[in-house]
Symmetry: C2
Subunit: 138 residues, 2 copies
């Protein structure tokens, strides 16, 4: 099977498959006499594994570790769980950051009339960094 077919089956792009090979995430694919890469069933499984790992938000480095665990029959489920838990924690940190931004913005937006006048608390906040300039800086 050539790279295009492998891409379709795995849901990755041919470009990504080549890239993963270039960065060493997967072993170099076998080549035919014409120089074309060809992929076995086992290769397809690896690609699908990568695709699903990426879909769960793992970075390529994490995917590499997951692949290592997958192919290591000596692995412990504790190792896998630890990797997944670390990723969950990273996701939660990121979610909290974004939620905090959202809340700040929501607050500003709620105080903006949104009419045809130029005066706007959002712009004021960006100007002043949240200092109160509206009443007597004295």
């Amino acid at each position: 099977m050539n790279i295009g077919q492998a891409a379709k089956h795995s849901g990755l792009s041919a470009k990504m498959i080549r890239h993963y090979e270039a960065i060493g995430l997967i072993a170099p694919a076998g080549r035919g006499a014409n120089g074309y890469r060809h992929y076995t069933e086992a290769d397809l499984q690896r690609l699908a594994f990568i695709r699903r790992s990426r879909d769960l938000g793992f970075s390529l480095a994490e995917v590499g570790r997951l692949l290592g665990l997958w192919e290591n029959s000596q692995r412990t489920s504790a190792e896998v769980k630890a990797l997944a838990c670390a990723h969950i924690e990273a996701l939660e940190r990121r979610i909290d950051e974004l939620a905090s931004l959202r809340d700040t913005l929501r607050n500003l937006v709620d105080h903006c009339r949104g009419d045809e006048r130029p005066d706007c608390p959002i712009i004021r906040e960006l100007e002043t960094g949240g200092q109160r300039t509206d009443r007597c800086p004295s």
Copy 2:
């Protein structure tokens, strides 16, 4: 004021200030006879505006639009509000995506014993894409 001082005052790095100039986000800074960039109070305000916009998660493209609105006395607060609302919506979409990943992972992690044995539902999920292989595929 030179770029290093401007960087300190704005909380940006000198590198980023040069970058913003290079991509046209800010107008080229004035230069002294020695070729050094120098920054006025107005420049510092612009840099601080950018910094706060970035802190709120706006992309550089959005920051560009915000700068345009800021410096346009003909702006309407409705325009600013629309930009901020669009950003809030993007944040919420992103948060939902990440939360969905987190929930999926949490579910998998909760079913993983995390002991010294290799058997692991997380790895199984990545292998099979969620197909039930545990009972009679018949």
